[in-house]
Amino acid sequence: MKLYTALTLAVLATLTSCGGNVNGGNRTVIQNKGSDTLVNVAQTWAEEYRKIHPDCAVAVSGGGSGTGIAAMINGTVDIANSSRVMKERELKMARDNGNNPVPFIVGYDALAVFVHKDNPIESITIEQLAAIYGEGGEITRWSQLGITVPGASGDEMVRVSRQNNSGTYAYFREAVLGREGNYKLGSLDMHGSKDVVELVMNTPSAIGYSGLAYATEHVKVVPVSIEGGAPVVPTVDSAGNGSYPIARPLFMYTVGEPEGAVKDYMDWILSDVGQQILLKKGYAPVGKL
């Protein structure tokens, strides 16, 4: 009984003394949540930042761009990671709740198109991708691209896509299918970039997409061209200089103009040190290093 009385008192004491971001031990907490594409970089940033700022705890969570943006709207996050821009509606909802999202481009990501290692395909055009993934698109079989995949159980293409709150999903739709475009039904929607790569690795007749950083030596990255142009291999360089047709900016949204610890953290992320970390994880840095 005494134990519970003590605990209850402790609960009340802590609740009354703690408000906002700063906690008992005088350390600052930055809550950083969102894009699964960015989560690996965000985690490494948090890990490295601790080494130079031992009093600043950056708490990183994934869950998808949509999760981060929802948290931004609800005001439960300091920095939201997103691999797509926030929609007008989302911006308005956040502002109505008193959280004004300020975007920062922290890097660029090339969306790579993956096929199985044994797939002989040499390049693919945006138009072909649209016909494969888009609603009403005609390509459902590899033979329609003039390709026979060795080891595949059939000619049918296995389309691998993402769950619909993913920023990768949203950007691929925008860049390949057009703003009004919709995905064709019947794709396998995976809950993470890593899952896409693993499925394509194990399925000879599969085609999938995700951030270039998730590419492994076990899958084949297909060079992409716009009809009539030369196929471009997705690399950090071709993503950064805009020659690769499906490269996207990666965003971090802060609540209002950043100040204090959040500003220090954002400045550090955009500094050469922060950008080197991003580069090492397979993304293209903002500007020259």
């Binding site: 705890a57 950056v58 708490a59």
Partner: protein, 301 residues
């Protein structure tokens, strides 16, 4: 006459007896094997975990922070975080649950209201954990933000507490009702009040049963991922929680992230975390089982 009697008593198996015996053996064999099969998943899981996970285990695994993009180093913040989550959840759920169970078992009259309360408890137990997660997000993270400060251990633990409350209530009520009525009557006849009887007679005699409920609650709480994912647990934070307004890592979510989200994670690492997770459950369980046996040893009936 005596010969005839002998013939009757000496038993010769008839075809029907043989058939019955054969069927009996068959059923026994079948049921036995089905039961054996139930052990198989347990053995397989533990076997695979130990085989694949033990290379990752070391003293440093439990005392170090994760390093190099969570591909190396230990699980200290997740381990401590899980203990925090379980501790705060128990602190919230156990007193509440026991209080409710005492009322329901010792005081509540058998009327409509009591039956509705019982129905509510059973329904609460049937709510899927992801629904609890969304409820916790809405109630403790967003609505009670001025109090909890958004996502934090407190919000996550309260979500877990609500989820496990029915377990505590039901098991406590059962064990209170297992105390023979004569105990209470003897006590009342000496002039003790209801509350004195509960405190001095009923609770001491049912404590082992109550602890069983708590054990089940601990096992549930340690493993849950969905309810804490959106309420207080994070993928990575390089600090140990200092108060329950902090966010924290947790073993179950750490396992999910290592297995499905982070890149370049060595294969043994998720298995090591899974083994640690099972280890935490087993350790907490055996501690409370030992405590329970100690208490039961003192029981005089």
């Amino acid at each position: 006459m005596s010969v005839k009697q002998h013939q009757i008593t000496s038993f010769e198996a008839q075809p029907l007896d043989l058939k019955n015996r054969r069927n009996e053996r068959l059923v026994r064999f079948f049921l036995g094997w089905v039961t054996m099969l139930l052990i198989l998943p347990v053995l397989l899981i533990l076997g695979v975990l130990i085989y694949k996970g033990s290379p990752a285990l070391s003293w440093a695994f439990f005392t170090e922070m994760p390093r190099d993009g969570m591909t190396a180093g230990g699980i200290l913040p997740a381990l401590i975080g899980t203990l925090w989550l379980v501790g705060v959840a128990l602190t919230a759920a156990v007193p509440l649950g026991i209080a409710a169970a005492i009322y329901l078992s010792e005081y509540a009259p058998d009327n409509m209201l009591t039956r509705i309360i019982n129905l509510a408890i059973i329904n609460l137990a049937g709510v899927p954990s992801i629904v609890h997660a969304l409820f916790g997000l809405g109630a403790f993270v967003i609505f009670l933000k001025p109090l909890t400060g958004g996502t934090c251990i407190l919000a996550a633990s309260l979500t877990l507490a609500i989820m496990t409350l029915p377990v505590v209530i039901v098991s406590t009520r059962e064990s209170l009702q297992a105390v023979p009525r004569q105990f209470r009557e003897a006590c009342w006849s000496l002039g003790a009040t209801r509350w004195q009887t509960i405190r001095k007679v009923v609770l001491p005699n049912s404590i082992s049963g109550i602890l069983t409920g708590v054990i089940i609650q601990v096992s549930m709480t340690v493993g849950e991922t969905a309810p804490i994912m959106y309420t207080g647990a994070v993928t990575y934070v390089a600090f140990l929680p200092e108060s329950f307004t902090d966010e924290t890592m947790a073993l179950s979510l750490h396992l999910y992230n290592l297995a499905f989200v982070m890149q370049d994670v060595p294969e043994s690492l998720p298995f090591g975390v899974a083994l640690a997770l099972v280890g935490v459950v087993l350790t907490l369980n055996s501690a409370s089982i030992a405590f329970r046996m100690h208490l039961r040893g003192k029981k005089k009936w």
